[in-house]
């Protein structure tokens, strides 16, 4: 859909919600907890390279791998790297983005600082 300007977009094409909006329900979630939306969030992090491609535990449990993924994401996006899903992190996650992963084949170089030793993630390029 192409529009010459924003006023040309018909209201019928403006969605009430977005694909990642449901992640907002996960604010406050941290390691050891269980939550309904975590399987989808794990898919999100795997898609963008933050969880290993061989990672397969898409349960509703917030495990160690997810904590590392969240922490690495927070580092990459200049957020407070707590490993917990806080409001600032969710605010960033739900923003539309490029479909290319942030991490491929090793540690992330997105963040200018040194990633922590436990933030090393191995993924395979498509």
């Amino acid at each position: 859909h192409f529009f010459p300007n924003i006023t040309a977009i018909p209201s019928s094409l403006i969605p009430n919600t977005t694909i990642w909006a449901a992640f907002s329900n996960l604010v406050g979630c941290k390691k050891g907890q269980k939550a309904d939306g975590l399987p989808k969030l794990k898919e999100y992090f795997q898609y963008f390279g933050y969880l290993n491609t061989s990672y397969s535990d898409f349960s509703d449990e917030f495990d160690d791998s997810l904590e590392i993924a969240v922490k690495t994401y927070q580092l990459n996006f200049n957020l407070n790297a707590t490993g917990q899903i806080d409001a600032e992190t969710i605010k960033r996650i739900v923003v539309p983005r490029c479909g290319n992963p942030d991490i491929v084949n090793g540690t992330s170089a997105m963040h200018p600082g040194k990633p922590s030793a436990n933030s090393t993630i191995h993924t395979v390029a498509h």
């Binding site: 010459p4 090793g106 997105m110």
Partner: protein, 194 residues
């Protein structure tokens, strides 16, 4: 800035790159002009040039708009979510989500609907991938992974310019301040690839 693993780039013999649009998309000249401007932003700071040709199959860079599954194993997801993706050099494939509400004039000053996405902003970003740049953590950079709907960001930041000039060198006619900066040095390759 970051690069794809192993820092792929277009070979020196390929500094004059061609691009073409998927014929089935039947894009208007206005839309094509948006891409022309996007390419120009990268050629301004490097020795690369970009020329549109009509033959899609013979072009170095092939641009297409697709919906959902489109054959590369990376289906688009409808309005918002992922907006586009591109392959590392020298693949040249650049895909945009056909279901987005792409805005041409980029005038968001009066408040944009939540789903409006500025085409030129995303085009400049994806061309960065086509040329070899990965994602950047610098929020002002074009290569920052996300862009809020209703936002226009088309100017290359210092971070983008340093990254691309590390791969291809600087355009001798480029007078920007970045060319005088010292690159931050060799980095681990990472970023993104499709």
């Amino acid at each position: 800035y970051s690069f794809f693993p192993n820092r792929p780039r277009w070979p020196p013999s390929k500094s004059q790159l061609t691009y073409a649009f998927l014929p089935e998309n039947q894009l208007s000249d206005v839309v094509k002009t948006v891409f022309s401007r996007a390419f120009e932003r990268w050629s301004e700071v490097t020795t690369l040039t970009f020329t549109e040709i009509s033959s899609f199959n013979r072009a170095d860079i092939r641009i297409g708009f697709f919906s959902r599954e489109h054959g590369d194993g990376e289906p688009f997801d409808g309005v918002l979510g992922t907006l586009a993706h591109a392959f590392s050099p020298p693949t040249g494939r650049c895909h945009f989500d056909g279901e987005e509400n792409w805005v041409i004039d980029g005038d968001f000053l009066n408040g944009a609907p939540l789903s409006a996405v500025d085409l030129e902003s995303v085009a400049v970003h994806e061309i960065g991938h086509i040329l070899g740049l990965g994602h950047s953590s610098v929020e002002e950079a074009i290569m920052y992974p996300s862009i809020s709907s209703g936002t226009r960001k088309v100017e290359l930041a210092d971070d983008d310019i340093m990254g691309i000039q590390e791969l291809y060198g600087s355009n001798p006619n480029y007078n920007g301040s970045v060319s005088s900066l010292t690159p931050t040095g060799e980095r681990e390759t990472s970023g993104a690839s499709r």
